[in-house]
């Protein structure tokens, strides 16, 4: 717990945009007092943020109207491959809605399992056959998100980049356009852009 407090303090410090010079000192302090399960905890913390981000995409991306043809179907956030989020993603979306639709999290093992899906997180375990997955999805209106190297450049739509304890976004505009998705200019401004 001590570490959690420390990390949140850290991210808060970073958020304040102040005292960047303090960061090395804080990191050193963090290293010294870090217990053995630090790695697991920080991964958790990182994926908690990523889970929130995944949910936030719902607000800043527009799907073509044809996707929501049937009103009773839920809005689906899918995870392909190993689930790095634990329960975090479930916790984030539980009780939330998109318009009148509830939000559902689905976990897929193989690309063939994907039926209705709006946001798809492609886990690191799938890095080997990323091209196959992206080709298989083709131009379906599914927002593909990942955190593997070169994810956006290789045709994925949004990549999480970890940068100095913060998570930044890189968006492949061409890929989103090809899939018929409209990404809010506000989101585009907050992200790095590729594929133009």
């Amino acid at each position: 717990m001590a570490v959690l407090t420390f990390t949140s303090f850290l991210s808060w410090l970073a958020a304040r945009q102040r005292s960047l010079w303090q960061l090395p000192a804080v990191l050193v302090a963090l290293l010294f007092c870090a217990p053995t399960d630090t790695a697991a905890q920080t991964v958790n913390r990182e994926y908690q943020i990523k889970a929130v981000f995944l949910y936030n995409f719902v607000q800043f991306v527009e799907w073509p109207a044809s996707v929501f043809a049937e009103p009773e179907l839920p809005f689906v956030i899918g995870v392909l491959g190993d689930n790095p989020f634990g329960d975090a993603l479930h916790e984030v979306v539980s009780g939330e809605t998109v318009g009148a639709r509830s939000i559902e999290v689905r976990y897929y093992e193989r690309i063939a399992d994907i039926d209705t899906c709006h946001i798809l997180f492609i886990s690191q375990s799938e890095v080997g056959h990323l091209s196959t997955i992206l080709t298989a999805l083709g131009k379906r209106p599914i927002l593909t998100v990942g955190d593997t190297a070169e994810f956006a450049r290789r045709g994925g739509m949004i990549r999480f980049i970890k940068e100095q304890n913060r998570i930044r976004l890189r968006i492949n505009i061409q890929a989103t356009k090809d899939a018929g998705l409209v990404v809010s200019s506000k989101l585009l401004r907050a992200a790095d852009l590729v594929g133009r």
Partner: protein
Amino acid sequence: MLRNVPIRTKLTLIILAISGVISVLTCASLFVYTFISFREKAVSQLSTLGEIIASNSTAALAFQNNDDAAEVLSALKAEPHILAAVLFNDTGEPFATYHVEADVIELPSTPGVDGYTINPQSLTGILPVMQGQRRLGTLYLRSDMLALYQSYKHYGVILIVSTLIAFGVAYILAHLMRKQITRPIHALVQTANVVASESDHSVRAQRFGNDELGLLTDAFNNMLEQIQKLNSDLERRVVERTAQLEATNKELEAFSYSVSHDLRAPVRHIDGFAQLLSARSREQMDDTSRRYLDTIITSTKRLGLLIDELLVFCRMGRTEMHRKDVDMRAIIDECI
């Protein structure tokens, strides 16, 4: 206090007082209205600005990009009246800040309650940052009141200048329009003065219009005419009466003259014959008869004297009177 000042001054004062009261009341109500509406406008401007900033910072808050949030806030540079802005995330921690260098007030560390507060130094707005139905954080904005005070100042100057202009115009109008009332009154006063000082009833006051003053002028002129007519009537009658009186007097004089003249003859006869009787038969008369005869002679002489004096008196009525000292004692002695 005002009782003795001339009417034209009174009129000017009345007009200026009325227009002054109206201008002051109008100004006061306008200023109250402006005071309220400018405050509302200031709040609504801050609110508009806040909505724009809040709407632009949703993605930055949702994806924890404080560079972008700081950039969004730095757009506030364009509005120099904004002193400070703080963007809080959904857990209430400061996420990005903006403030001008001259600002000395400390930035808040917690979001506070949504809403707007005005105090003499600043206008503070705290508004939610929403994406759809979801609250992502809170925006705190603080603006100085200089813009508001500037507006008040401009408005005040305009009000004062327009009031002064209105006063000036009212004075000029009063000056021009009071003549409508003062001119006929002056004409009346002047005419009345001429009538009083020179007793000349032939002058007439000039009439300027058909209003009450015109009627007053008419009535005044009418009265003058009547007085003039009465005067001339009176004079004519005095002349007439005097002539009548003179004629009567003359007749009376002539009559009394002729009467006294005619009376003299029989009296002279009585006197003459009494004297003849006395000369002829005095010796034969007893004392009583002599005394009677003497009394007749004396009385007749007296009567003749009286008639003569009456004649003299008649003539005297036609001669002029002289003022003269008289010896009262002699007159009284004579009468007694």
